[in-house]
Structures are given as structure tokens and as C-alpha cells.
């Protein structure tokens, strides 16, 4: 069995990154001009990496399947971005951000990577402000912060409920500058369909032009995968419709190990599923838990009355409500980490306290916050603090200024006014902590192939804390990869342009064409979505918020059967040489059908509970997740061997020299 080398530098934790940067090889500016780098994906990680690599002088080719790089799904991130700036003077530090992140990830992330992430976090905010990102500010003109789950400080920077949008447009603007200079060649509406290896190294990709259908060969000295997460394996998730695993899966099939596929984040506050025709789920930002209180009725009679429409939530007195997060976790209350909050909501709903027709919803209530803010503002303005309707009006204004866009989104979807009645929410698939295995340099097990952002596995362990995804995406793209890739590329200064006329490119292109033709020639009867929805149901029911051996085993079998049926009976209309979204979807779902099986296999293998991975067999008497540090303090890195069932497990042992492994408690 091969030993995974994480290449973590020697030395004390706090010095590792600085020393590493001092020791690695650089490429001189003149030589950078003769080196090409492909970046797949234009979200926070891919966009920032492409821009920075181009600034450094590399020739960058950037690919996205959307019609513009500005549409990558990072755009939808709402709440904020963490940074250890300690602007609030509340005791924050690099160490504390590092500690919170490792603890939040339930001790399944790599210490050195997380410390580096915390270290560069402050630079990200400086960089974004310098780009003109309009973060929220206070009346003194300085940057404002808010709190997110799982931490006791206020370190989250934000731009209303559109932080991801503003940060992505910042990275997009940096890309635009380089596109204008000719240093980035942008390929919109292009999808990577395979990686090309020459002499064992990543040397290019095969891409399909989604407008003309043309299959193109692109060569480079290194390939960076920044294609995001694979939450859409569940069909219903908060991901965009096009979000997919294909780029990551294609490199997996060519030799990149896939790490911890079962580590998935089910986000507690999403708009509940309403019907069979639903195509996606919508997130309500975790920032809402700063001010919203989560509850269900204490008594079943009230649940019944609410479901039948005989009572409204606002009819229930304080005594008739169960604020279950505040009850179970008094220290963190409504701001416990996502995995904990999701499981607690599921527990109440499974016990029969769900507040909508499907029994799968809890309340997120802003009435207390409206009152509190209203009183505060009345006091500041010297108005009557006893005037109930005035307090209500003022409080709603403050809530609107903080969360206006989220409240509007909710109202449009659910057709209820959340200023007047509590929101109904339920957990939904949101983020995948697992991903392509990378070493400290963010390189995969294919030399010259890197993975950054959500596409890799490295920083969030078994559960990601809120506002850390934006931090990691931009840390990888702006401040980590641009250094570490130089160390690899320093060997390529004499290589010259890579030809696309080699047998390797020929072979890869042929494989791609064969697969596309196979889809089009399969004269089946079921649309692609039929399979995607079926897969999603298996994943949600058997690999979702709680998992057990029996269900996981049957999930593996069901997915294998579904995959077989897919290749026999799928119907893909149209042709290969035209704009054909069904054809693109077929390729993505084919990869999800393989990943789903590896996901279940990984979940089965890890018989402990940790973070978002909850195995029913491994829990405390109170129903909290029970880790098994003795047997599972490792990263599961899977090697592809022809099909998911044959995948071989490699273990990267995790060592904690700077943090004591403790039972994670938020009580």
C-alpha cells in the first residue's frame, strides 16, 4: 500500500508556512512567460487563482461551464467570511481561529493546513478591501463584524446577505484585468471532460464547447481543479443546478485519490422541501441565527393544531415553546455548529414535532430580536420605549437592513411574510468537506494536478464552520497555490509548449467522444433527471443526516443497479455537435452515479460518528456523535481501481501536536 506523503513542512506550527515559502523553488519572471496553467472553475478559488497566477506572469487558460465567470456558485454564499483580525478586540487571534476550525471539524482536518488558513485570513480582507469590495461598515467607517456558529468571538466580515457575490465579483474584477491584458484566456461555456496525462504528469484537458459541441484539446504545464463540491449527488441541495463532480471525478479516475467523500454538510437553515417538482433547495444564511431563535411547540396538541391550520405559531406562549438548541446547548445556544443544529432539528421532527404538513420543519423566529432592536433604537432616538407598535416598526427596520434580501427570498418562495410569522426551516445538503486529496502544496496524487477550494478536502475536517468556505477558497487561490505551484513548475522552465498532437491527447479525446456517443445512441425511455432524482432519494434516505450499516449496504447495491439501468435506459435527445444541455447533464449524472457509491462505501467504512458524519451505531446516551479517535484519526483517501466497488483505501494518519483531542462540546 502506498504511503501518502502530505509534505507538511518541519518546524513549529506557527513557522511552517513562512519557512516553507522561504525554502521552495521559485520560477523567475521571464520563465513564467513560457509556462501555461489551466484553471478549471471560476469561483472564489479558481477565479482568485487564475487572476493571481496571471499577475505573476504565467499564461492562464480559465474554464467555466457558465456563460460568464461571474456566475460560479460562490456567488450565492450569503453570510460572510472569517478572518482573525480581532477588530472587535474580543480576544480573537490566529491560534483561536485555527483552534475553532479544527474543533469545529471534529478533529479530522490537517493541523498545518488549517493553521496556514488562519494565518492568511487577515490578508484576504486587506486584499478584498483594496479591490473595492464593499463590506458592511459601522458609523465610524470601519469594517463591521458578526458572529457565526461554533465560535465565541465576532470575526465574520460581511456584505449584507450577499458576501459571496461581492467577493466573487472582486475576484472576477481581478480576472477581468488580466483578461484585458491578455494574460488569461477565458473559455466560457466550456466543460472539462477529461484530464490528459503525459509521462505521468498532468499536461492538459479535453473540453467540450457547450455552444458548438466541439471537442477541444488544451495543453498546459499544470492543471488546477477548482470545480467546487459535489452536493448535487443528492439532487436536491443548495448548490446551483450545474454544480457537478465531473472535473474532480475525472481526475480521480486518472489517479487522483478522493478523500473523505462521506463528509457532507447538511445545513440546518434551509427552506423545507415542498413538492416532487422541486429542483433545488434554498439556503437561509446561518447569520440569521445571530438573531433568530429556533423552536418547535412543546406539546403535540399544538403541533397538530398548527398542521391543521387551527393555530398560528404566534398564538403559542413562551411556555408552550421548546427552544431546543438553547435548552440542549446553553453555552452556544442557537449558534451551535451546523452539524449539531441539523441533527437537533431532525431529532425533534423525527419525534413528531415538525411544524408543517410534511412534518419536516422547525421555526426560526425573529420576534424577540425585532423587540430588542426596536427598544434599542427607540432608546438611542429618545422615543417612547413602551410604545409597542413603534418598537415593532423600528425593530423591523433594523432586521430589514441586516437580512433584507434573505427575508425577501423567503417571502417569494414560501409566500409568507417572515417579519410577521416565524420562518419554517429544515436541514438541506449544502457543502462537501470531502474532495480530492491534496498535500500541503495543494497538489493531488497526479503530479502537476492541483485541487483548490471546495474541490479539495483539506481544511474543514468532518464539519465546516460557517463563513469558512469563502475564507478557504480565497486563501487557496490568492495566497497559497500561487506560491506552491511555483515549486512544481520550477522544473518545467525548459519544457517548452506542450503539444496536443500526442497519442495521450488522441486517446483521451477518443474516450470522451465514445462516452458522448454512447449517451446519444442509448435509445432509452427515461430522461436524465429521472436517474438524478432517484439517486438523490437513495443518498438522502440512506447516506443523509444519519447513517447505519444496513442502509449503507443497501444504498451501495441500489446505486449499482441504478447505474446499470442508466446506461441501458437513459434517453438523451439532440446531437453532439450543438448546444445540448441534456447531453451535458448525462455526463454529470454518470459521474454522480459512481461517486455516490464511493460516498456510501466511505461512510460504511468509517464506523465512528464525527462532525456531519453520524453513524447511528456510534453515539452517546444523549444522542451526541461519538468519535473513535483510537481507530479513525485518519483521512480516508480512495484510489480508483476500475469501478467504485474496487476502490482501495489509503490512510493518512492525522497527528495533533498543538491541540488536545477532546470531545466536542457546545453545552
Amino acid at each position: 500500500m502506498a504511503v501518502l506523503d502530505s509534505k507538511i513542512p518541519e518546524g513549529p506550527l506557527a513557522d511552517k508556512w513562512t519557512q516553507h515559502k522561504n525554502n521552495i523553488d521559485l520560477v523567475n519572471p521571464a520563465n513564467k512567460r513560457s509556462i501555461d496553467v489551466i484553471v478549471v472553475g471560476t469561483g472564489l478559488a479558481g477565479g482568485s487563482a487564475a487572476a493571481t497566477l496571471a499577475e505573476l506572469g504565467y499564461n492562464v487558460k480559465s474554464f467555466c461551464f457558465q456563460d460568464s465567470p461571474r456566475r460560479a456558485h460562490s456567488i450565492a454564499a450569503q453570510g460572510g467570511i472569517n478572518a482573525a483580525k480581532n477588530y472587535q478586540g474580543d480576544g480573537d487571534s490566529i491560534y483561536r481561529l485555527f483552534y475553532d476550525t479544527v474543533k469545529g471539524g471534529d478533529y479530522r482536518s490537517r493541523e498545518a493546513n488549517v493553521y496556514r488558513l488562519a494565518e492568511v485570513s487577515a490578508n484576504i480582507i486587506d486584499q478584498c478591501v483594496a479591490q473595492g469590495v464593499p463590506f458592511a461598515r459601522d458609523y465610524g467607517g470601519l469594517l463591521d463584524n458578526r458572529s457565526f456558529g461554533g465560535v465565541l468571538v465576532s470575526r465574520t466580515f460581511y456584505a449584507k446577505g450577499q458576501t459571496g457575490q461581492q467577493l466573487l465579483l472582486g475576484a472576477y474584477s481581478a480576472m477581468n484585468r488580466q483578461i484585458g491584458r491578455g494574460k488569461i484566456k477565458m473559455y466560457n461555456r466550456h466543460e472539462m471532460l477529461d484530464i490528459v496525462k503525459v509521462d505521468g504528469k498532468a499536461r492538459g484537458i479535453i473540453a467540450r464547447n457547450l455552444v458548438t459541441g466541439e471537442i477541444e484539446r488544451h495543453s498546459a504545464h499544470a492543471v488546477v481543479i477548482a470545480s467546487g463540491g459535489y452536493g448535487n449527488v443528492f439532487f436536491l441541495s443548495t448548490n446551483a443546478m450545474g454544480s457537478n463532480v465531473s472535473a474532480a471525478w475525472k481526475i480521480h479516475k486518472k489517479g487522483a485519490y478522493f478523500a473523505n467523500p462521506c463528509f457532507t454538510q447538511i445545513h440546518p437553515t434551509c427552506i423545507p422541501v415542498s413538492g416532487e417538482d422541486q429542483s433545488k433547495l434554498t439556503l437561509m444564511s446561518e447569520s440569521l441565527r445571530n438573531d433568530g431563535r429556533i423552536w418547535v411547540p412543546k406539546h403535540k396538541e399544538d403541533v397538530q393544531a398548527i398542521r391543521e391550520g387551527k393555530k398560528k405559531p404566534t398564538d403559542l406562549t413562551e411556555e408552550q415553546r421548546d427552544y431546543f438548541l438553547e435548552r440542549r446547548y446553553p453555552a452556544f445556544g442557537n449558534l451551535v455548529p451546523r452539524d449539531v443544529a441539523s441533527r437537533a432539528a431532525k431529532e425533534r421532527c423525527d419525534a413528531g414535532f415538525g411544524v408543517n404538513a410534511t412534518g419536516e420543519a422547525v421555526y426560526l423566529d425573529f420576534a424577540a430580536a425585532i423587540k430588542r432592536y426596536g427598544k434599542e433604537l427607540a432608546h438611542v432616538k429618545g422615543l417612547d420605549e413602551e410604545d409597542v407598535s413603534l418598537i415593532d416598526k423600528l425593530g423591523k427596520e433594523i432586521i430589514k437592513s441586516k437580512y433584507g434580501n434573505l427575508f425577501q427570498m423567503y417571502e417569494k418562495i414560501v409566500d409568507q411574510n417572515p417579519y410577521e410569522t416565524p420562518m419554517m426551516i429544515y436541514p438541506a445538503v449544502h457543502y462537501t468537506m470531502g474532495g480530492v486529496w491534496v498535500d500541503y502544496n495543494l497538489m493531488t496524487t497526479i503530479p502537476g494536478c492541483f485541487a483548490i477550494g471546495e474541490a479539495n478536502f483539506s481544511d474543514h475536517g468532518a464539519n465546516r464552520l460557517g463563513a469558512s468556505a469563502l475564507m478557504q477558497g480565497l486563501a487557496d487561490g490568492y495566497f497559497v497555490l500561487p506560491y506552491t505551484i511555483g515549486d512544481y513548475l520550477s522544473d518545467d522552465i525548459r519544457t517548452g509548449t506542450i503539444s496536443t498532437d500526442s497519442p495521450e491527447f488522441e486517446e483521451a479525446e477518443k474516450e470522451v467522444r465514445n462516452q458522448l456517443n454512447a449517451f446519444l445512441n442509448s435509445k432509452g425511455t427515461n430522461p436524465v433527471d429521472y436517474y438524478h432524482k432517484k439517486l438523490g432519494k437513495i443518498m438522502w434516505n440512506k447516506c443523509g443526516m444519519s447513517r447505519n450499516e444496513k442502509d449503507l449496504k443497501s444504498a451501495i447495491k441500489e446505486i449499482q443497479e441504478l447505474r446499470e439501468d442508466f446506461y441501458k435506459n437513459v434517453r438523451v435527445p439532440g446531437t453532439a455537435d450543438s448546444f445540448n444541455e441534456e447531453l451535458a447533464k448525462a455526463g454529470r449524472v454518470a459521474d454522480f452515479l459512481e461517486l455516490g457509491e464511493l460516498f456510501a462505501k466511505d461512510a460504511l467504512d468509517r464506523s465512528e460518528s464525527c462532525g456531519g458524519h453520524f453513524r447511528e451505531e456510534s453515539q452517546t446516551p444523549e444522542g451526541e456523535a461519538l468519535r473513535d479517535d483510537k481507530n479513525y484519526t485518519f483521512v480516508s483517501a480512495w484510489e480508483y481501481k476500475g469501478k467504485p466497488s474496487e476502490a482501495v483505501l489509503h490512510k493518512e494518519e492525522l497527528t495533533y501536536d498543538n491541540i488536545e483531542l477532546k470531545t466536542r462540546s457546545y453545552k
Binding site: I75, V129, G132, G141, G275, D277, K412, I413, D529
Partner: protein, 248 residues
């Protein structure tokens, strides 16, 4: 609900297109508009016909990819929403709904309802940025305080999602609201001031080159903008442009 959809079908950029009628049944008022199109496409695939091509991605009103012209309005009859946030409860049983692509000279049709908006990208590439390299050595983020009011206005301008509803709505196919929003964001922030003169000139020049029309102050763009981008941004861009011209 039972509906009749009249949809623009066009095979590719060169062939001629036409409106085609599709009766559809069993539409729930809780479905989003795009989920209704999903249902139509599912039906078409089962009938062995080609589905209607349309742009969409995030389905939560922020990516700016969806772009339908519904019953003569960009993003349909609801206000402050994108097509993906429009719900069928805004329509009545028996309605006939006309669906066309966003039309403008600078947005050529690719197929059916899908248009090419790369002209928007090129306008941004002409100047929609601050020329700052990534180094880790920029000054501290709190080194320059920014008046809250200005930061908020800059945010409001930066909230543009680049969908092109303003262009599709404007009788002149003008992109002034889109360009004005980006020019305004930077004009309002100290970080953007250094390059303000060049930025507005370059972006406006590119906008003209792409074939977008001029603004005649009808204000339709502001009404149809899903993000409520204010017309003030056009006025601010005009001021910026004028002062840039005076500086030469």
C-alpha cells in the same frame, strides 16, 4: 393549473426562429417558473422532441444567468425577482404565457431562449476593476475609514447581477444601468478613485463598441431590474464621464 406556453424556438444563431405553442397541464402554483419549464422539457423529452434551451444555474436569484422575457417583461410580472424566483402563483389557470429570449443587438441568440451576453464581460474587462496585485502586503483593511452612507451606496450599486434585464427592457437596448452600477461602485470608494478617469472612459467606449444604445431616461430599466439598481447610478456615471472628459 392548465396553461398555454408560447415559446421562441431557434435552432442556432444563424437559423430563423419562431414562436411555438405548447399546452401544459398539472402545474402547481408553488412551482417556480423554471420548474414549470423543467416539467415542459420532461414532457418534450418523453415525446422524443428536443427540450427548450434556457440559461439558469443558481435558482435563487443571484447568479444572473436566467434571462427570460415573459409576457413582454424581463423576468416576468413580479417585481425585484429574477425568472428563477418567479412562482406560478403569479399566473392564473388557463393563462397563455409568452416566453422570449432577452433581445438586443449586443445579445445574439445562441439557441431558443439562450443568448450570448459576453459583451457584458468585455465591458467589465475594459475597466471594471482596481489595478491592484495580490501580494499580502496591501495596507490594513481598516486603514481608510469609509463613510457608512457611501459604503452602503457602493454596495447597492455592486449588487448588480449582470443578467441584462435592463438591456432587454430598454427600447434603445442601452446598457447604461449595468455600466453605471460598476462605475458608481468604484467612484464611491476611495480605492476606486485613482483610476476613475480612465475607467469611465474605457468602459463607455467599450459599451458603444458592443452596440448598446444610448439612454433616453425612460427609467424602464430601473423598474425591471431584479436587484432594484437605481437610476442615480446612470446620473453618477454621466457626471464621472463629464469630469473625465474635462480632464482629458
Amino acid at each position: 393549473m392548465k396553461l398555454t406556453l408560447k415559446i421562441w424556438r431557434q435552432k442556432n444563431a444563424t437559423e430563423k426562429g419562431s414562436m411555438v405553442s405548447y399546452p401544459i397541464d398539472n402545474i402547481s402554483p408553488d412551482m417556480s417558473f423554471l420548474e414549470m419549464i423543467d416539467a415542459l422539457n420532461n414532457m418534450l423529452i418523453l415525446r422524443n422532441e428536443e427540450p427548450v434551451a434556457f440559461d439558469h444555474d443558481c435558482r435563487e436569484g443571484i447568479c444572473g444567468m436566467c434571462s427570460m422575457f415573459i409576457n413582454g417583461e424581463a423576468h416576468g410580472p413580479d417585481r425585484n425577482v429574477t425568472t428563477c424566483q418567479l412562482h406560478m402563483r403569479k399566473f392564473k389557470d388557463g393563462d397563455t404565457i409568452t416566453i422570449e429570449p432577452f433581445r438586443a443587438k449586443a445579445f445574439p441568440v445562441i439557441r431558443d431562449l439562450v443568448v450570448d451576453r459576453s459583451s457584458f464581460d468585455r465591458v467589465q474587462q475594459a475597466g471594471g476593476f482596481v489595478s491592484i496585485n495580490t501580494s499580502g502586503n496591501t495596507q490594513d483593511a481598516n486603514a481608510i475609514p469609509i463613510e457608512k452612507n457611501k459604503a452602503d451606496l457602493a454596495f447597492d450599486a455592486a449588487a448588480c447581477i449582470g443578467c441584462g434585464a435592463c438591456v432587454a427592457t430598454c427600447k434603445n437596448s442601452s446598457a447604461m444601468l449595468f455600466v453605471g452600477a460598476k462605475v458608481s461602485q468604484y467612484a464611491l470608494l476611495p480605492q476606486g478613485k485613482v483610476e476613475a478617469t480612465q475607467r469611465v472612459q474605457n468602459m463607455v467606449a467599450q459599451m458603444d463598441l458592443e452596440g448598446f444604445g444610448n439612454c433616453t431616461n425612460t427609467g424602464a430599466c430601473e423598474v425591471e431590474c431584479p436587484k432594484g439598481i437605481s437610476l442615480e447610478n446612470i446620473a453618477r456615471m454621466n457626471r464621472e464621464y463629464l469630469s473625465a472628459s474635462l480632464k482629458g
